[in-house]
Symmetry: C2
Subunit: 418 residues, 2 copies
């Protein structure tokens, strides 16, 4: 089955926003075993939306559109698509009531504009939006399917698998193969190194397709098997996963769709361990990532962003003499920070970061990208040292990633030699 993607919005053709939906949708479509014929972006322009849609339909079985479903005057996707097929617009009372309820619930002032979000081309079926006011819809015209979902990435990411893919599967049953899919998340190897480590595996012979997706600072591998039976697909997938695991071993931190912070938080909660964090160069990012996980108050007792030397001394008890002799960015300081925060918070574990995120503050000995991480458990304090080479924001991100991996390795008992 051939599919076209049409992303709609002035922000896309002005270059203001990079198009996150197109690549997400393309990936999902490919993972179903279908193919993407072309991707187009067009501005919020009545005639152009019609023309581009017709062009894409001329070469595909279905077109998935995103964007232009908002309440403002420049959101004209529904009207343009109705006009493309000579259909009038109708108001869906259920959708209208749902939107009005949301407005009432949050005490928002109702503006008549918003009623536009309940209008759809005649014959369209509504696709529910579980996370916003903009419902989507699909339409069958001359044996082809046209889907429209919102351009807000968080909404598109929910509505594609929940509202679009099931309809496609139903209308094009030849696509009814059993699909087994696995995401394998790695950290610590570049994309080239991951590719190289796996290059002797013949995935074709294993009957599995493979894709590499860098999600800074991680590299994700996705393997997919499509077979007549679920069991057969899962068997093939398992074999490919074992081969990959053999080669990447400890660079793999997760099989599935959880984030690293979710993985680490889950392990801490399962083991009923508490944690306190003392951050310098990561500036609160480790705590912020951990508190992105619901229920993190169960294990995160406190976080201290000890950005100044004064804060390191007062809050963590790092002696001025150590800071003077070894510097704030040193193994010695990192160790005392981890031990200090663990002690004052009376937690099972204490974690610390100290380093140089940049762009200034580096030296020949300790260049920008240097970081020391320490993890104390009351018996032993482990320390790791890295030299990364990114800009300030990415350094902060990779520092926080290495810190979370540090806890992960500790909880798996991998630090016995460190």
């Amino acid at each position: 089955m051939k599919i076209g993607i049409l992303t709609i919005g002035n922000e896309l053709i002005s270059g203001r926003t990079a198009d996150a939906n197109a690549s997400f949708i393309a990936r999902e479509i490919n993972q179903q075993g279908w193919s993407v014929e072309a991707i187009m972006s067009v501005g919020d322009d009545f005639t152009k939306i019609k023309d581009r849609l017709n062009y894409l339909l001329s070469m595909t079985d279905a077109v998935i559109c995103t964007g232009g479903l908002g309440p403002t005057a420049d959101d004209i996707t529904s009207a343009a698509i109705a006009a493309a097929f000579g259909l009038p617009l109708y108001t869906d009372e259920n959708v209208l009531n749902h939107i009005k309820e949301i407005f009432a619930k949050y005490n928002l002032r109702w503006i008549e504009n918003n009623a536009k979000q309940a209008m759809f081309p005649q014959g369209a079926e509504v696709i529910e939006n579980p996370v916003g006011t903009a419902a989507g819809f699909f339409l069958k015209v001359e044996g082809k399917l046209i889907f429209v979902i919102p351009g807000v990435p968080g909404e598109a990411r929910r509505m594609l698998p929940e509202g679009v893919l099931p309809v496609l599967r139903k209308h094009f049953p030849e696509a009814e193969l059993h699909v087994a899919k696995q995401t394998i998340k790695t950290f610590g190897l570049g994309e080239g190194a991951v590719d190289n480590a796996l290059k002797d595996i013949d995935f074709n012979a294993l009957g599995v397709s493979i894709g590499f997706y860098p999600v800074f600072p991680e590299n994700h591998i996705v393997i997919i098997a499509r077979e007549q039976s679920r069991q057969k697909a899962q068997d093939k997938l398992k074999k490919a996963q074992d081969e990959i695991t053999n080669r990447l071993k400890q660079n793999i931190f997760h099989y599935g769709d959880e984030t690293l912070e979710e993985v680490v938080a889950g392990m801490l909660m399962e083991k009923k361990l508490t944690l306190a964090v003392a951050e310098s160069c990561t500036g609160g990012l480790i705590a912020s990532r951990l508190t992105d996980v619901p229920g993190s108050s169960e294990f995160l007792e406190r976080g201290l962003v000890t950005y100044s030397n004064k804060a390191k001394m007062e809050l963590l008890g790092v002696p001025a003499a150590v800071l003077g002799k070894h510097g704030a960015v040193s193994e010695e300081t990192a160790r005392l920070m981890a031990e200090g925060v663990r002690k004052i918070a009376a937690t099972d574990l204490g974690l610390s970061s100290t380093g140089i995120a940049g762009p200034t503050g580096g030296s020949k000995e300790k260049p920008v990208g240097t970081v020391y991480l320490a993890l104390a458990d009351g018996k032993k304090t482990h320390c790791r040292h890295f030299a990364f080479r990114w800009d300030r924001r990415r350094n902060k991100l990779v520092f926080s990633e290495a810190a979370l991996i540090f806890i992960y390795d500790y909880l798996l008992g991998r630090l016995s030699n460190e």
Copy 2:
């Protein structure tokens, strides 16, 4: 002048790589005052490249293509474009020698495939690649221009301004308008409300184009004027900006391209004020956003993520009685947190957040999305209370945004009545 963008590569339509070039090129084109008619992506397929290029040429004056210029078998862009216009390929000896020199310099083994990178459609002019082996080219056919540059983002980012834009300017001199552009960043109004507040302004009559760009939780407005003289463009822009400012007033926090954290950090540094932050529901995100700004150690003395009640008592001196009577999520606690962190850090300002990010922990009185923020300066402690309605991650983001806006308003002297 109307321009089309065609990005070529199997990695784009498989969703393996998000298309970074399309939005970059679109932005540059818009900033020249030209317009992007459509953006398309297509796989490395001979016939499809030809078809899509012809479609784009049918509606534009020029098409900029990226990708498919490498040495491997799937790189077929030059051959496909030559075939689209019935042109033979020729070898450019200068480019061939240049590539051979690079191979010799880095001791790389020469494979005859690489000679492909020196082959161009007859009549094409070479666009030099200052950072790689893949040269680009442009071709004039029936009064229209076709550009091809590599898909590697670092190369495309050099060759577009250096090799493509000058040729476009020369061939389409009517495009020599002066462009003035302004971004206006707002917080606190939804996209619909911003649109509604501005709807009586006749931007056409003012000679200015306007775009709305939601960047959660902010809404950005971009206005652009294109005129024969720089002065005239700036005058028109100024007039439109004044009209917008009149209507959105204090919801505007910045004119330009800085982030909110950069704006706030800049003001703190200029006024030589120091800050300490005590965060509960934002979990370190306020500190992390502030430390994204280079030089933030100048003003951010420390940040405390007092996630537990124990941490609020021990570190900030919030009495158990207050927590018991009013709860951790309350105005009273927020005030004591801000005052406490200011006092122990001995900074000019203390900022606090306490609230319910969700998904659980809400009640009828204090639903998920409730947040109390306090800002203490030693003379007075200000407090703000909001009820947002997002998911956990977006609640954290909008809480941190409201906190930074709080400091911003304080520094502008807007809190006299709060």
